[in-house]
């Protein structure tokens, strides 16, 4: 049984590592400015964790194999040097790893969530509710109308609770069920939730952020390729959670302008 266990550990280690290395299941293509640095950080972590995984699992397998061959009459052997070298090794190895990952990672995190938003960013207001996303573009006046929760009427198409009769800013707001953005232009989302917590996840943007009732959360990104991908909710929000999704369409500036015009005309 000892040798079987050692063999099992070795086989599981090699096969599972092989599947990672072959990238049989892997991240979808990245279409964002921050994506390459996130991917690079993930791959570096994968290599570091992968080496530790293979070395430690195979060490376990080898130790078990060798121990199972030991003769009963021989004395036990202490680990050379005792615990101190292991403590130093673990602290140094993992410490350096922690320091490196934290330093590089903090720069990526800053660029993704904390960097100032460029002034030319396209502003889109996003509301999440059970079980749909709605997007709002400010229209020609560049200003969003004020939402009123008590005026939300989904049956009547007033998803944000706008009051165009009394609010001039709201009159030209363009509300859509899908998010369209121009390629290579920064986009600033202002995210809020109508009822419970939801989340905005676009794997291709390498971006995820929760919507929290009571908070307006800014999120910015720049898409680098024309593409159509899914936006999915990743925070458990109720029975229709699995089906809460819509599309992100990244268009050329000209196509985006035309799309926005068509949406405005259809309001």
């Amino acid at each position: 049984m000892a040798k079987l266990f050692a063999a099992l550990v070795a086989v599981i280690t090699i096969v599972s590592t092989g599947i990672f290395v072959a990238r049989t299941w892997w991240l979808p293509p990245d279409i964002s400015v921050v994506g390459p640095s996130i991917d690079s950080q993930l791959v570096e972590t994968m290599v570091a964790a992968g080496v530790l995984f293979v070395v430690s699992q195979l060490t376990l397998a080898v130790f078990v194999w060798r121990v199972s061959d030991e003769k009963k009459e021989r004395p036990i052997r202490r680990f050379p040097g005792g615990a101190t070298p292991l403590v130093v090794l673990a602290t140094a190895l993992v410490g350096v790893e922690v320091l490196t990952l934290s330093l590089v990672g903090s720069k990526i995190w800053y660029n993704t969530f904390l960097a100032p938003v460029p002034a030319n960013a396209l502003k889109v207001d996003v509301q999440a509710g059970q079980f749909a996303f709605y997007f709002r573009y400010p229209g020609p006046d560049g200003t969003f109308g004020t939402p009123h929760p008590d005026k939300i009427d989904e049956g009547g198409g007033n998803f944000f609770g706008l009051d165009p009769a009394n609010d001039i800013d709201a009159r030209d707001d363009i509300v859509t069920a899908e998010l369209a953005v121009p390629v290579n232009r920064p986009v600033l989302l202002t995210m809020h939730a109508k009822d419970v917590i939801h989340s905005f996840y676009v794997p291709e943007l390498r971006l995820q952020q929760d919507f929290v009732p009571g908070l307006v959360i800014p999120l910015h990104f720049t898409a680098t390729q024309v593409a159509k991908t899914e936006i999915v909710c990743t925070q458990l929000c109720g029975l229709g959670h699995y089906n809460m999704k819509t599309y992100l369409e990244v268009m050329s500036q000209a196509d985006f302008d035309k799309w926005l015009k068509d949406q405005a005309a259809a309001q």
Partner: protein, 577 residues
């Protein structure tokens, strides 16, 4: 063995039970309470596993009829998931390794006749059982159990039935159940701490306590803080639900076309309170496993643990750091993104004591004369699955990677390996090791080894592919994956489901072995493994007062193996100096 006559001051503070009720039901005997906890955990783990089978069945075959449930609806899936997570985390991973084994063996390890507050101890179990019954009562109320997940994020969990099926009475029962559970664990933790600090027999310094006893002690300290906070949070949640308060509900919510009148609360407050408990809870589940492995490994390696004080330091460091990392569950929650770095660094640092502990186990194995018993094999399996689960933590501790992997199956793989499978391997190791002491009979080793080998293969077959799903961006907590979304993942989901059903079925071998050995197993000697700690100095099973009135004197450390002695290659703690 050195003993002295029992002085009057240490005489047993409650007489031997005389009736069936006082002996087996409302018992104040820590050993009976330990068995009761383990029995509850066995019922709970069976329930939780069956629920996970239904979940996995639905994910792989969404249109097929599940036995007993028919075609599973999206809300049923979420209800199964919520109950699976809640039952497993609270009533299995907390009760079995900590309350179960801890109750039975902690007083034995300290040479005490019982815990200092036996009635609190009895109450702790019955309160916990009540919590379990309140939770499972949610299955029979209209609309069924809650669907908000084991984390019960507000406001979904706070605003009542309008937010979804099960969010009415079912969610209230959940909150009440967890509150009651916390009370039970606080009573238990108090007893554990006092037993370790005040009830040690003569000569038993803290340094001579077995590693698992240290683990239970540290876990108790963690639990005392963690469950206090969670119980308070549950009270606030219950008040939001039934008394109209707004601790977790902000103004202006429109739920199910109704504008709520609540105002002023914060959904993030629930997350902070929950995860302030929730992350230490991971260590409440796994630290007893650390202790069990550190205690059992030397017994089968026939050599002392490498770096005994370092191991205790690692467990204490993990216990301390566990309170500095809760925000890593909330990197993307809307919490100020700057604080993510403050939570990321300690999360990464906590891997240092965990890595040291793993290396110490490997160093102990090196050059040993390992006895490959079933318990010994589960120790080795623990090391393997803990390495696997621990390393995926490197990814999720980094906010910049979490932004992609958060809420995907990568997270499911991570916490199942490190918190569930590793802890369960620790429980299995403990069961095979201590069963002879608990019941006076040996478990069948052949069945045990089959159980180990098939379970080891099974857990890797189930949980390793979940890493691949997560890397591909497969979101967790979805009841189905239509072809246009993650359709390419369906074959992998089918594989996982088949592997999960297989691994679950393998547990029948364990169940059969457990029941058969209990009644027909070979009679166990007092010290079948030639181990050293105090429980092996008494009969199998121990008498009601543990040591038959003997007052033990301890002269040795907890793992003096690999030495020349009249016994062979080990010295028991009670042997003369």
């Amino acid at each position: 063995m050195t003993t002295v006559s029992t002085p009057p001051t240490v005489a047993h503070h409650h007489g031997p039970p005389t009736t069936f009720i006082s002996k087996y039901v409302f018992s104040t005997d820590h050993k009976v309470i330990g068995k009761q906890y383990l029995g509850l955990a066995l019922v709970a783990v069976t329930t939780g596993m069956v629920l996970s089978w239904y979940m996995r069945f639905h994910l792989a075959f969404p249109d097929a009829k599940a036995p007993g449930l028919g075609t599973i609806t999206p809300e049923q899936y979420l209800q199964l998931m919520t109950m699976h997570g809640t039952i497993m985390v609270f009533f299995v991973l907390t009760t079995a390794p900590f309350a179960g084994f801890g109750n039975f063996f902690l007083p034995l390890h300290t040479g005490a006749e019982d815990m200092p507050f036996p009635h609190f101890n009895m109450m702790s179990f019955w309160v916990t059982l009540t919590a379990f019954l309140v939770l499972v009562a949610a299955f029979v109320v209209p609309e069924g159990p809650p669907l908000a997940g084991w984390t019960a994020y507000a406001p979904l969990s706070a605003v009542g039935s309008g937010s979804g099926p099960g969010e009415g009475t079912g969610q209230t029962l959940w909150a009440i159940s967890i509150f009651i559970f916390c009370i039970g664990q606080l009573l238990g933790a108090l007893n554990f701490i006092c037993t370790v600090l005040d009830m040690r027999t003569k000569g038993l310094s803290l340094a001579r306590l077995p590693y698992v006893t240290w683990a239970w002690f540290i876990t108790s300290v963690i639990g005392l803080i963690a469950f206090s906070v969670l119980s308070s949070a549950c009270v606030l949640l219950i008040l939001d639900r039934v008394a109209g308060t707004s601790f977790f509900i902000p103004a202006g919510l429109v739920v199910n076309d109704r504008v709520l009148t609540h105002a002023g609360g914060s959904p993030l407050l629930w997350q902070h309170l929950f995860w302030f408990f929730g992350h230490p809870e991971v260590y409440i589940a796994i630290l007893p496993g650390f202790g069990i492995i550190s205690t059992i490994l030397p017994a089968f390696a026939r050599k002392p643990l490498l770096g005994p004080r370092v191991m205790i330091g690692c467990m204490a460091a993990i216990g301390f750091l566990s309170y500095t990392v809760w925000g890593h569950h909330m990197f993307l929650s809307g919490m100020n993104p700057t604080s993510a770095m403050g939570f990321s660094v300690p999360t990464l640092i906590i891997t240092i004591p965990a890595t040291i502990a793993t290396l110490l186990w490997l160093g102990t194995l090196y050059g040993s004369k390992y006895r490959f018993t079933t318990a010994g094999l589960f120790c080795l399996g623990f090391i393997s699955v803990f390495i696997t689960g621990g390393l995926s933590g490197f990814f999720l501790a980094q906010p910049s990677i979490d932004t992609y992997l958060h809420a995907t199956y990568f997270v499911v793989a991570h916490f199942h390996f490190v918190m569930a499978v590793a802890a369960i391997f620790g429980i299995f190791a403990g069961t095979y090791f201590w069963f002879p002491k608990m019941f006076g009979r040996m478990m069948n080793e052949t069945l045990g080894k089959w159980h180990f080998a098939l379970t080891f293969i099974g857990v890797y077959a189930v949980f390793m592919p979940m890493h691949y799903l997560g890397l591909a961006g497969n979101v967790r907590r979805y009841s189905s994956f239509p072809a246009e979304y993650m359709g390419q993942a369906l074959p992998l989901h089918k594989w996982i489901t088949i592997a999960a059903l297989f691994t679950g079925a393998v547990q029948l071998i364990f169940l059969y072995n457990l029941i058969r050995s209990r009644f027909a197993g070979e009679q166990a000697p007092d010290n079948p493994w030639e181990a050293t700690s105090l429980e092996w100095s008494t009969q199998s099973p121990p008498p009601w007062d543990n040591f038959g009135g003997r007052h033990l004197v301890v002269s040795h450390g907890p793992d003096e193996y690999g030495v020349q002695s009249p016994r062979g290659d080990y010295i028991m703690q009670t042997d003369p100096p």
